[in-house]
Chain length 160, copies 2
């Protein structure tokens, strides 16, 4: 995002650096723990799974991906035994996507790795300062979401 690189990376550049380096570290660590058959792009699904199920269309909205992309990701993850589809009793058009046992293990592993990463930053910045940073990041993310609420075309994969 267009800084002249003369010293002051903008919000977008920083977000990109954080996203991609976190993503790499996460998936490297996951692979070492045996989850070596998933890629960062599957994060669009894995990052939003819930034990009580979630619809593909909601994954599409949350991750900013086309529903077709979610469909193929869920296909892949189903084949790899991370998720399963079950009909939604409340709406016969819909299917709910649930994590399998392996999916749950992955979610826990990923959460643990992310805690480690964030702990490292908390140690570097100070716990209080990091908490303050993360709260601000949450607010910025929320505000940005609103700002672009008008347009709705997907952009890219989500971090996972």
């Amino acid at each position: 995002m267009s800084k002249h690189h003369t010293g002051d990376p903008d919000l977008g550049v920083l977000a990109a650096q954080v996203l991609f380096s976190v993503q790499r570290e996460l998936f490297t660590a996951l692979a070492e723990q045996g989850f070596d058959d998933i890629q960062p792009r599957t994060g669009a699904v894995l990052a939003y799974l819930r034990t009580d199920g979630i619809r593909a269309s909601e994954l599409a909205r949350a991750s900013g991906q086309h529903k077709q992309v979610i469909g193929t990701l869920v296909d892949d993850l189903e084949r790899l035994d991370y998720v399963e589809r079950k009909p939604d009793p409340a709406d016969r058009r819909a299917k709910l996507i649930y994590p399998t046992e392996r999916g749950l293990l992955q979610m826990e592993a990923a959460a643990s790795i992310m805690r480690t990463i964030e702990q490292r930053h908390a140690n570097a910045l100070g716990a209080q300062e990091y908490a303050r940073f993360k709260e601000a990041l949450r607010r910025v993310a929320g505000l940005q979401r609103e700002a672009r609420a008008d347009s709705q075309a997907p952009e890219h994969g989500q971090g996972g």
Copy 2:
């Protein structure tokens, strides 16, 4: 990045939300200002251009993209008159990539849009709090860079 989405998005998810929504807002605004022939992925080049030129290989390192990707992006941007290649006098293997006049206009437009976006967040959080947030984000980005310094394979396009 695997939160159970029960209330606490992790650093990766938040970074992704910020990146993609900023990216969309930026490129929508750029398109409205006449820069409608570039896509977010070209940001891997545009975000790192310098008036004194930069090498393709350095763009690859900075953006985390394969050098072949940078090559095609520069091809495209050269065709669209945003950049031009000139031989590097210091190394006859290398070429330096410079912004053209149009490229400079794009860079200024993008910088202005990003200032507007960041100003909006600064208004929402308070100028001081936002400055503190951004400083923390810079540090987190820097720390993450170090953490993944061992592995070096590209991951995704950079924000732009």
